[in-house]
């Protein structure tokens, strides 16, 4: 069984985001970019399935700018077998919408015929939380989002999902789409020898047009603004002072 893992190149989660003064977006020139953390978890899970003998190949895909090649090399260094880069934008500020990404992934699913696709539940840039569900819709596969645990057996996946009330466990028929939550695993770091080896692993380069997908956005970005700022308050010296402040404010 092949496992397909889409990975996205996003601003590193430690970088302080700056909104451009002209309101046209967030400044991404010369900032540290990394693999979306939820996608790292997805890559890790796929590699563990391979190590457990449940998966044959781990194929990673990235859709975006050419620089996403680095993200794919990271995934290959972690242990993925091969990579597909789908160049769909020139400018690092262009975010390909989940619907278009899902259409390209659906075309790749047709070609590769994976038993499982593991996606991150959300990209930490657009925070949309949509690609996995959209891919499930377009392929007609079952979906299990927000995975806390994943077990693959007998043509099915049993997934405990992190939901608002706690955990919901479902069983989905394979092929299926699973999206990762934070507790699924702790991704490994790539070792130096593996980083070297990853340079020789196959990386296919394609374009959105190769899959016949129109990536033009459905959503026009009108403006991007700073959120309302919170002004720092005061330090209180004691619990007594805190209690009296909260009483004055009428919240207790």
């Amino acid at each position: 069984m092949k496992v397909l893992v889409p990975v996205k190149r996003v601003i590193d989660y430690n970088v302080k985001v700056r909104v451009k003064a002209d309101g046209s977006g967030v400044d991404l020139a010369n900032v540290k970019m990394s693999m979306n953390p939820f996608d790292e978890i997805a890559v890790e899970e796929a590699i563990r399935l391979k190590e457990a003998g449940k998966a044959s190949d781990v194929i990673v895909v990235s859709i975006g700018v050419k620089q996403a090649q680095e993200t794919l090399r990271t995934a290959l260094a972690m242990g993925a077998d091969r990579a597909i880069l789908v160049v769909a934008a020139d400018d690092v500020h262009t975010d390909i919408e989940p619907l278009a990404v899902a259409k390209i992934l659906a075309a790749i699913v047709k070609e590769e015929d994976p038993g499982l696709v593991i996606c991150g539940k959300q990209a930490i840039d657009n925070d949309l939380n949509a690609t996995g569900q959209m891919l499930a819709a377009l392929t007609g596969f079952a979906q299990a989002t927000n995975a806390n645990t994943l077990a693959v057996e007998d043509g099915a996946a049993v997934v405990a999902r992190e939901v608002d009330g706690g955990l919901q466990t479902i069983k989905v028929t394979l092929p299926a789409i699973v999206t990762t939550d934070l507790r699924l695993n702790e991704p490994r770091y790539a070792s130096l020898p593996n980083i070297m080896k990853a340079k020789k692993k196959p990386l296919d380069e394609k374009t959105a047009a190769d899959y016949g997908v129109d990536v033009s956005p459905r959503l026009d970005i009108v403006s991007t603004a700073e959120p309302a700022a919170r002004t720092a308050g005061i330090k209180v010296e004691s619990v007594d002072e805190l209690v009296s402040k909260l009483k004055d404010a009428g919240v207790v």
Binding site: V19, N129, D164, K235
Partner: protein, 308 residues
Amino acid sequence: MAVLVVAEITDGALSMDATAKAVTAARPLGDVTVLCIGSLARAAAGEAATISGVARVLCAENALYGHRLAEPVAALIVSLAGEYAHIVAPATTDAKNILPRVAALLDVMVLTDVTAVVDADTFVRPVYAGNAMQTVRSKDEKKVITFRTSTFEAAGTGDPVTIDDVAAADAPGLSEWLEDRVAESDRPELTSAKIVVSGGRGVGSEENFAIIEALADKLGAAVGASRAAVDSGFAPNDWQVGQTGKVVAPDLYVACGISGAIQHLAGMKDSKIIVAINKDEEAPIFQVADYGLVADLFQAVPELTEKL
């Protein structure tokens, strides 16, 4: 134009708060129809029919919709989509699971966690963990939206409107529910509580979380946690507040032993009053706190519980 609001229903029970907030968000977009889906949905539909501003309620009660698995529920919504320009829901994990699937089946984009409606095509939503607010205009004929509940007031209640039954839609049986692990609690629900008391890595252990819970119970508050506290097993996953957990905006938020990482702030910085208790005076949480107390939480939190 008409708006379809997908009600939040868990095991037959309507989440009045989340649904009534989505109705408030949906009202400016047109006549509101609320859709109640579940293996038990009639009682929920009866309750939804009393939400002010609702024109009509649809009830889809069928065993197929038990546990609201994404495939059958999305298929049902798509079967009803025809007359609606907007299909919306509160941004719960349930709706976030289902609505993107609906959107892709309709070949439209989804807009998640929307915090403001500008006009019928234009919406505001946070991106980059709330570090930027993006205004986007949709070119799609239909809009599929989840609304962030913490930014809308719940609609009130009034005389009930009519309830119509709708038939189940065909759905492939691709998934099966096995089990729910839900902790019963008498505490208010995290996303609708007036007061939230949260603990972070500084709390140190699951046992120590008792002091956070004692303060919460004294205040009639819900309990929250940082990702680090959840990852370390101090607190269950459904307590996580933040960019990738729950978003809350209570009247009072008390953060204990939480450093104030941007991903945590994303989930609570719209709270009316923020209190931070942290032993590190440099902790970033103090930059957003109205009242900061530099102290050891093991001493300060029990003292606070006692003095309130």
